[in-house]
Structures are given as structure tokens and as C-alpha cells.
Amino acid sequence: MRLLQIAAVVTLLALALMVWSMLQPTPLPVMLAMTAGQALGTFALGAFLYVVIRDLRRSYIRKRDVEDPKDPT
């Protein structure tokens, strides 16, 4: 949950940079949006995908253990 909250804040920052470059298309905002903005957005998307894949993996393992419990006896 904490990682998703960080990803949401980082995405908001990236969006702010991109919107700034569109409303004031001068060299500094445009370059910031196309470098830092896109890097932040990529990081946030990566964090979101990490959380989703981790949750899917956990639920798959849980489901497998319920359906096929390993009984040592």
C-alpha cells in the first residue's frame, strides 16, 4: 500500500511536469517533461506493476496451497 501511495504521488509529479511543459512550452519545461517527467512516470508504473504481480503471485500460491495441501502424514 505504501509503495502504491508513493507511486501515486510520483505520478502526480510527472503529470505536473508534463502539463507545465504544455502550458509553457519553453526549453526548460519541455526538457524537464521529456526527461524527468517520463522517468518519474516510468518508475511509478513499474512500482504499480510490481505490486500487482506480487499480489497475483501471493494469491496464486495461497490458492495452490488450499487446493493441494502438502500432508506429511
Binding site: 502504491l4 508534463m18 512550452p25 526549453p27 504499480f48
Partner: protein, 212 residues
């Protein structure tokens, strides 16, 4: 602000994404499947659409004269192109709709296979040089001391003025210099021919050389 469908799309998608993300941060809902779907739009799909459309809008913005003229040392060049009464080569091209608001980019862009990339790499160099060396330089000094990095290529002129047209060939100065023009040893924009494109910068250099 100009109307650009890519700009509108970018702003709308950014706005919706921001609303979804603020909702997530403020309400802190449980991480259910529906919350993940909402976040997929807020962190993934909508920002990707903003980046894609914003890049197109951003690229278009970087081709505008107002963008080139946003660095103070480019002010005389921008003002000359804006001047409807100016007879400079650059201003006359700016009044042509084929060039219009993008006349700086149209004339200074490379037209090779990787022209856009090469041009943008050159633009990054300009931003670096401006930020590191010229951002505090007075315009007058800039006009006297700074010159174009490499000679303006005739291929840019020939891109439109093909040198194959009978009207072009009927000009004696053209036919007598055609080999030099095509080889690039004589510039179309040289003084006495069609240039200089930005006479005030050449005049400033001449005045400086003459000690005035």
C-alpha cells in the same frame, strides 16, 4: 494559447488521472480488484496517453518561432521574422505559409533520414550552450560574437528551390554558379546573392570589426 487536439487530449487525460490519484491518496480505499483497476488507469493508461499526446504537442511546440525566440539572445531574430515590413530573407520566408510560425525550424532543420533526431540533438546542444555560456550575455554582444555553428547548407534551400526549374535557370547568376551552389562552395544566403538571412547580426559584426 493555440488550439492543438494533441494538447487538449493530453490535458484531459492528465486531469482525469490526477482526479483518480487524488481520490486514492485522500480516501485510502482497500486494495481490492476495483481499486487496482482504477490505479491502472490513474498510474498506467492515462499518464501513458498524456505522455504520448504530450510528446507530440511538445515536439510541435519546439518547432514554433515563439519557442526559438524564448531565449533572450534570439529576440532580434524572432522580432525580425515577426516584422511584416522586414525585407530580410528570414522575414520573407516567415510570411510564406509553407514556413509561417515554424520558419526557424523549417530552414534550420536537417532533412536527412534521421533529420528530426539530428536536429533535436543539435537543439539540445543549443540549450546546453545557452544555459552554460550565454544566458547572461547581452544581445548586442551575442550578435557581434556568436555565429552559426556550421555554414548554412544550400541543400536546405534546394529542398524547395530545386535548381531544375526553367525560371530559376533563366537567371544568369544561377546558371553561372550552379556547380558551386550544388557543391555548397557558394552559399545561396551569401551577401550579394540572397543573403544574409539575418542582416542585423552581420551588421553588428561589421561594426565591431570597424571599431564602431
Amino acid at each position: 494559447m493555440r488550439f492543438d487536439p494533441f494538447l487538449i487530449a493530453a490535458l484531459v487525460t492528465a486531469g482525469i488521472a490526477a482526479v483518480l490519484l487524488v481520490w486514492f491518496l485522500v480516501r485510502r480505499p482497500a486494495l481490492t480488484k476495483s481499486t487496482k483497476v482504477i490505479l491502472m488507469f490513474g498510474i498506467g493508461i492515462l499518464p501513458l496517453m498524456t505522455a504520448a499526446t504530450g510528446n507530440v504537442a511538445g515536439f510541435h511546440a519546439t518547432t514554433l518561432r515563439s519557442f526559438c525566440g524564448s531565449c533572450h539572445v534570439m529576440t532580434p531574430y524572432r522580432e525580425d521574422s515577426d516584422d511584416k515590413a522586414s525585407l530580410s530573407l528570414a522575414a520573407r520566408h516567415a510570411r510564406n505559409q509553407m514556413f509561417g510560425e515554424t520558419n526557424c525550424y523549417t530552414c534550420h532543420a536537417d532533412y536527412g533520414m534521421y533529420g528530426v533526431i539530428v536536429t533535436k540533438m543539435g537543439g539540445l546542444r543549443h540549450v546546453y550552450e545557452y544555459t552554460m555560456h550565454y544566458r547572461n550575455m547581452p544581445v548586442k554582444q551575442f550578435l557581434e560574437e556568436v555565429q552559426i555553428r556550421k555554414p548554412f547548407p544550400n541543400s536546405t534551400c534546394i529542398h524547395c528551390h530545386s535548381t531544375e526549374n526553367p525560371m530559376w535557370s533563366s537567371v544568369p547568376d544561377h546558371t553561372s554558379t550552379i556547380d558551386r551552389l550544388r557543391a555548397g562552395t557558394l552559399s545561396c544566403a551569401s551577401e550579394g546573392c540572397h543573403g544574409p538571412a539575418h542582416p542585423f547580426s552581420k551588421e553588428a559584426k561589421r561594426l565591431k570589426a570597424g571599431g564602431h
